[in-house]
């Protein structure tokens, strides 16, 4: 169980022969993820050496999915080619099997490219895009699990807490906090720090609400946009499971981009205090400090009779 990605999901790697693609595909394979092959245009027929396994390389996603019946694809191609890779994957999943999860790790994709790519994917039912500019998604198992992305596998363990976050390393921090109170994770999703992305907070929260393995959710937001406020309103109406949160950027000055392209307070909107206020009002307990997420989560689990 877990959301969208089963523990043994069959994974393709777009850009598998590039430096990033080879490195991270190897890490995933070492962790026990079921990497079944990759795609690099012009390198079809080659074999990619991932240390623990050797996997085939195809020229196109359509060939790769037809041959492997893959469930998911992870994209490590450079920013200028990434939106085309997303669109190719979406079309291939649609035509070959009708479903698929596309995880785009690439950072620095032009915003208007993502406007076009998300519009394309939105029109295809059954295909989901996670990212871009994100650590990826992981569903841990007893022996490893489906690690689709760049997160350090070793900090995770299978469990019952769902994690969703805009930030990379802050997701790891949240995972470490669940472990500090002896809780593992069902699925952890990094939705990414770009202004325009695929899957959002509400998609994740709604899937965690429906997932039998998940009993509570940790949600990590950051300044910029109004996604946290909208998620909070959704939680108040629809969520029965406890949600705890943290929002980064209380001290960020307006008008300055804080690393992530989307992390900017503009026109007085998108401040951390507004987000925390909206989340608290929706019954989401928020930590002031990421080191407190574990304690806040424990309290919520106890109040819900889960500990």
């Amino acid at each position: 169980m877990g959301i969208w990605i089963e523990e043994d999901a069959k994974i393709l790697v777009q850009g598998i022969t590039g430096k990033q693609g080879t490195f991270h595909a190897t890490k995933s394979a070492e962790f026990g993820a079921n990497v079944v092959g990759g795609v690099t245009p012009g390198k079809g027929g080659q074999t990619a050496d991932l240390g623990v396994i050797q996997v085939p390389v195809w020229n196109t996603m359509t060939e790769a999915i037809s041959e492997t019946d893959a469930d998911a694809s992870v994209i490590y191609v450079p920013p200028r080619f990434a939106s085309a890779a997303i669109i190719e994957a979406a079309d291939a999943f649609k035509s070959v099997k009708g479903t698929g999860v596309i995880v785009c790790i690439t950072e620095g994709i032009p915003t208007l490219d993502m406007v076009k790519a998300t519009a394309h994917v939105r029109g295809i039912e059954g295909v989901r895009l996670i990212g871009p500019n994100c650590p990826g998604i992981i569903t841990p198992s007893e022996t490893g699990g489906a690690k689709i992305g760049i997160m350090p596998g070793s900090i995770h363990a299978k469990g019952r807490i769902g994690v969703v976050s805009k930030s990379g390393t802050l997701t790891y921090e949240a995972v470490a906090q669940t472990m500090s109170i002896d809780e593992g994770q069902s699925t952890c999703v990094g939705i990414g720090g770009d202004p325009v992305n695929g899957t959002g907070f509400i998609d994740c929260l709604s899937a965690f609400e429906a997932d039998e393995q998940t009993v509570a959710v940790v949600m990590i937001g950051e300044i910029g946009g109004t996604a946290e406020e909208e998620a909070a309103a959704w939680v108040a109406e629809n969520m029965s499971k406890p949600v705890v949160g943290f929002v980064a950027g209380m001290t960020a000055p307006p008008g300055k981009r804080m690393g992530h392209a989307g992390a900017i307070i503009s026109g007085g909107k998108g401040t951390a205090s507004e987000k925390v206020a909206a989340m608290e009002a929706a019954g989401i307990r928020c930590a002031n400090d990421p080191s407190e997420i574990g304690a806040v989560l424990l309290k919520s689990l106890q109040d819900a009779g889960l500990r």
Partner: protein
């Protein structure tokens, strides 16, 4: 990336969009000769800085701090006034609502022909993150602060979402013109203008185009009297012409150098330097420092795969800030290995002769190795287990908050 108004108007002019004649100047002599060339009795003398609120700003002498003039955009009715205003603007410090107290030195002017204004409107194009579509916002309340309009009379702001693959349809453009109360030739002029401006927005990968005011002239033509244009940094690789418009004097020097080194740095006003991997964690680190009574001196994200050299560059950038009294390093090693960070920290402290207190928190991949390396170095480095401990420690080491 931001550009100046005069550069934005140049792009508009090249795209066939309606702007009035104007000349970019950097000296009083050029301003006077521009006035003679424009042959318009009335001209606007506009300071060019990368910040809004110029009209209501105040000019100060950068040496003495004495007030020189009210208003960074002046209407001149004769040659003498052009000379006075150009003299008062150039080389002086303009403080507006958006510049903060530090203000910005005015190095560039734009002398623009006058225009007979019947009404002022507000117009902006940007990307709506939640809808994942471009959004056009327009209002009949031009010249005003749009945030104030949004607050007091939100119904006065008209919004339409645009399908990026289609562009602004005739029907959308006509509806918007009508919502703004435009008809006849003004409506026709608006429709052509908005379709052209949207094409420019997409073609040049703009982040935002804001026109405040857009005006209807007494001749019932629409004119773009303002141009606040910014571009998506991620798309600059395909726009070498836009990169050439960059005015580095308007940007923080250290931030530019950090970017060249693959680091993301933003200077702040506090005294505790921070070095972190990941944007979210870097923001959280600043927040927790503040929570423990300190003030962060910067945001600094070394990214996911920094090497020893980048860590050293990051330290040198942090230490350039004379306000820094101590440094907190917070690394959650995923891809990045903590032993490499530890070596970088030691190399940097030795090379740069760091004497300020240094607190280091390393977690994740190879953290034991990293901590052992730091402990064995014999340097005065405090290692901690959690972010909270780290923040508390650095705040106490520098003698509490400011």
């Amino acid at each position: 990336m931001n550009i100046h108004e005069y550069q934005g108007k140049g792009l508009f002019r090249d795209a066939g969009l309606p702007v009035v004649a104007g000349v970019h100047c950097t000296t009083v002599e050029q301003a006077l000769s521009a006035y003679d060339d424009l042959a318009s009795k009335i001209v606007a003398v506009k300071s060019q800085i990368h910040a809004g609120g110029r009209g209501k700003g105040v000019l100060y002498d950068p040496e003495t701090g004495a007030e020189v003039m009210q208003g960074g955009v002046k209407i001149a009715f004769n040659r003498d006034e052009v000379e006075t205003y150009a003299t008062n603007l150039l080389g002086n410090k303009l403080v507006t609502k958006q510049t903060g107290e530090a203000g910005k030195i005015v190095n560039n002017l734009y002398i623009e022909s006058g225009c007979a204004i019947a009404h002022e409107y507000y117009l902006a194009i940007l990307v709506d993150r939640e809808e994942k579509m471009p959004l056009i916002m327009a209002s009949t309340e031009g010249g005003m602060d749009i945030e104030e309009v949004a607050e007091s009379t939100p119904e006065a702001i008209h919004k339409i979402h645009i399908d990026i693959n289609v562009g602004v349809t005739d029907a959308q453009a006509v509806d918007l013109a009508s919502a703004l109360g435009l008809d006849g030739s003004a409506s026709d002029s608006f429709v052509t203008m908005i379709q052209g401006l949207f094409s420019l927005f997409v073609e040049k990968d703009c982040a935002m185009v804001e026109i405040n005011p857009l005006v209807r002239t007494e001749g019932n033509e629409m004119v773009l009297l303002d141009a606040k244009v910014s571009f998506d940094e991620n798309a600059l690789f395909r726009h070498p012409d836009i990169v050439e418009l960059r005015d580095l004097s308007e940007e923080e020097g250290t931030e530019i150098r950090a970017k060249e080194a693959g680091l993301s740095y933003v200077k702040l006003d506090g005294n505790i330097g921070c070095l972190v991997n990941g944007a979210g964690l870097a923001m959280a680190t600043m927040d927790v420092i503040k929570l423990y009574g300190g003030e962060p001196a910067n945001f600094l994200d070394v990214g996911g795969g920094a090497d020893e050299q980048q860590v050293e560059t990051a330290f040198s950038i942090i230490m350039e800030d004379p306000n820094v009294k101590g440094i907190l390093v917070n690394i959650f090693g995923g891809i990045m290995r903590c032993d490499i960070i530890a070596r970088g920290v030691i190399a940097a402290t030795e090379a740069l002769g760091l004497e300020d207190p240094l607190v280091v928190r390393l977690v994740g991949t190879n953290f034991e190795k990293g901590r052992t390396i730091l402990a064995a170095s014999g340097l005065n480095i405090h290692t901690v287990e959690t972010l909270a401990e780290g923040a508390e420690k650095i705040v106490s080491l520098i003698g509490g908050g400011q």
